[in-house]
């Protein structure tokens, strides 16, 4: 009944020869244990600096982090002297600036980045020249030094809105240049992982490509995309160099993204770090703190981390709400 031709000599492997030796089994076990060990060690090695960063920021930052620091800007702060409210200046203006500028960058880059990923994964053919160059250039774009992105945005705004134009949105444009490739790449990975079966199932129900993409593919990939976007925000929220040049630095609060200079938290940190210390008049009492800029720098760094943490939690929460339940 079977079509196996009996005249062909079927080789009979010698399984005793192929069986593992005792020592080889031990060696495999050892290797497994070693790899396990290495993986644990990698984890611990990485923890040391990471904990150190957080710890340093926490310890140094808590010294000046209080409600006063969060509710005032830097106007009227003279040297190391306390302000009328009893504080030493604060970061309210920088928090507002950071949130607005980052939000601006998100508004620009998430739609573009996501649609670009959709183009690459869902529409483009693998052999398509355009797609190949787009995805190559996305990689290249992710390597644009942030400072060059800043120069680009600055000159673009200079051309369109006159020389020396500096405002928050200009910073957003610079940041979006840095953010788009991260959004594209992480979204692309996540879209690729969505099983082909699901697209087929949807098409078979007579669903258009657009609806399949938005309702099945993007929906299934959503948790991954959200964490990708968080990564992208992380990539830009701490940018300093391009914002020095595009969004500027001001000690008062500016809530208008489209006009006037805007301070962001990283720029604030950097400027305070650069100031290092202030001079207290010889006659000054103990309320004048010569090391106040550095203390403000650390406190602002802590605020920055907390802002990032909150964004993270938000993203995590979104990802959880839309999570794909019990895969496979």
């Amino acid at each position: 009944m079977t079509s196996a031709n009996t005249s062909v000599k079927v080789p009979q492997p010698d399984f005793d020869k192929l069986a593992p030796t005792r020592s080889f089994i031990q060696a495999r076990k050892r290797k497994d244990a070693i790899m396990r060990g290495l993986i644990y060690v990698a984890f611990i090695i990485a923890l040391i600096p990471l904990i150190s960063v957080l710890w340093a920021t926490l310890v140094n930052g808590l010294k000046r982090l209080n409600l006063n620091f969060l509710s005032y800007n830097m106007t009227g702060v003279i040297g190391g002297n306390p302000t009328p409210s009893g504080g030493y200046g604060g970061v309210l203006h920088a928090i507002i600036g950071t949130l607005e500028i980052t939000f601006g960058a998100m508004v620009i880059s998430i739609p573009i980045g996501l649609m670009c990923a959709v183009y690459l994964v869902e529409y483009a053919n693998r052999k398509d020249k355009l797609a190949k160059s787009v995805s190559l250039l996305v990689d290249v774009m992710s390597g644009i030094p942030s400072i060059v992105a800043g120069l680009f945005a600055y000159s673009m705004f200079t051309i369109f809105f006159g020389p020396g134009t500096i405002n928050g949105f200009e910073g957003s444009v610079a940041l979006s240049l840095l953010m788009i490739p991260t959004v594209v790449k992480t979204s692309e990975e996540m879209l690729k992982i969505v099983p082909h079966d699901l697209r087929e199932a949807s098409y078979a129900l007579g669903v258009t490509k657009q609806r399949t993409i938005t309702k099945i593919v993007l929906r299934t990939a959503l948790p991954g995309i959200v964490s990708g976007v968080i990564l992208a925000i992380a990539r830009v929220i701490g940018e300093t160099a391009p914002l020095l040049m595009t969004a500027g630095f001001i000690s008062s609060t500016n809530v208008n993204l489209f006009s006037g200079q805007m301070t962001t938290l990283p720029v604030y940190v950097y400027q305070e770090y650069s100031k290092l210390s202030v001079t207290c008049p010889a006659a000054a009492d103990a309320s004048c703190v010569p090391t106040i800029p550095m203390e403000r720098a650390w406190a602002a760094a802590l605020v920055l981390i907390v802002v990032v943490l909150l964004l993270n939690l938000l993203g995590r929460w979104v990802a959880k709400v839309f999570a794909v339940k019990s895969e496979q």
């Binding site: 098409y203 007579g206 669903v207 490509k209």
Partner: protein, 259 residues
């Protein structure tokens, strides 16, 4: 009412590889047509050309005609999306949408197409489709649980319910029962029998008994050798196919049967 399908001189390619050669057949409306044949002979491939589903595989394309009620599916002005709305499909591997609950999966066809549907209609539709797929009793208390949490067999029945819920004219099934136990299989076969009053059904199966039980017509696919294209060797009504085949290859294949 189900629709008639005519396949004329169909050649299907994956890139440059000719997978199936010169298929010609007439699929009668409101009948069940089964495709049988050895693995790799192109049954799934041909099935997918009937709702242009192969087109989503990059490089896959076909030559020839597939006429649905006389209208060529491959005419330039035909939208594949509309073809697929009339021609439903159930796949070999169960593929419920992982983001959706059982209920949402059944309603997916309607919901994804932005069709407004009242809660009570939806409830009716869900129950009807799940009963048809013999899944209702097992899941009625957990309709809001994720569809992916079911066992393999349950998942496949869910997928059948989902396809049926769109109420297509033609229903294509690619080994829908290969992951089902006999009781579920029987239920699905009953469902197929019930549905053929309204639909044209084409089913790929490895189980010749299944073909013999449910099909009105059977197409036997074969391939001369591995790497060669598959072809439709013999197409006949089922009783001829199994009792008195006029084709030597088909007879050899069928006589290898058991059970």
């Amino acid at each position: 009412m189900g629709q008639r399908i005519d396949v004329n001189h169909l050649n299907v390619y994956y890139g440059n590889f000719l997978a199936v050669e010169d298929v010609n057949m007439k699929i009668e409306p409101n009948k069940v047509t089964a495709f049988i044949g050895p693995s790799g002979c192109g049954k799934s491939t041909v099935l997918r050309t009937l709702d242009r589903m192969h087109e989503i595989i990059p490089g896959a394309h076909c030559k020839g005609e597939v006429l649905l009620e006389g209208k060529n599916l491959y005419a330039p002005d035909v939208d594949p999306v509309e073809v697929r709305r009339d021609v439903g499909m159930v796949f070999q591997r169960p593929n419920p949408f992982p983001t959706m609950s059982i209920r949402e999966n059944v309603l997916a066809g309607a919901k994804l197409n932005n069709r407004k549907i009242s809660k009570s209609d939806a409830d009716d539709l869900v129950e009807w489709a799940l009963r048809g797929a013999n899944l209702w009793e097992e899941v009625k208390d957990r309709l809001d649980n994720p569809g992916i949490g079911l066992s393999g067999g349950q998942q496949q029945r869910l997928c059948i319910a989902r396809a049926v819920a769109v109420h297509p004219q033609v229903l294509l099934m690619d080994e829908p029962c290969s992951a089902l136990d006999p009781i579920s299989t029987l239920a699905v076969e009953d469902l197929i029998n019930e549905l053929k009053g309204d639909y044209t059904i084409v089913i790929v199966t490895h189980n010749m008994q299944q073909a013999a039980r449910i099909a009105d017509y059977t197409g036997f696919f074969n391939l001369k050798a591995v790497g060669q294209p598959g072809h439709l060797e013999y197409f006949a009504d089922t009783s001829t196919m199994f009792n008195n085949p006029q084709n030597e290859e088909a007879e050899r294949y069928i006589s290898g049967r058991f059970g």
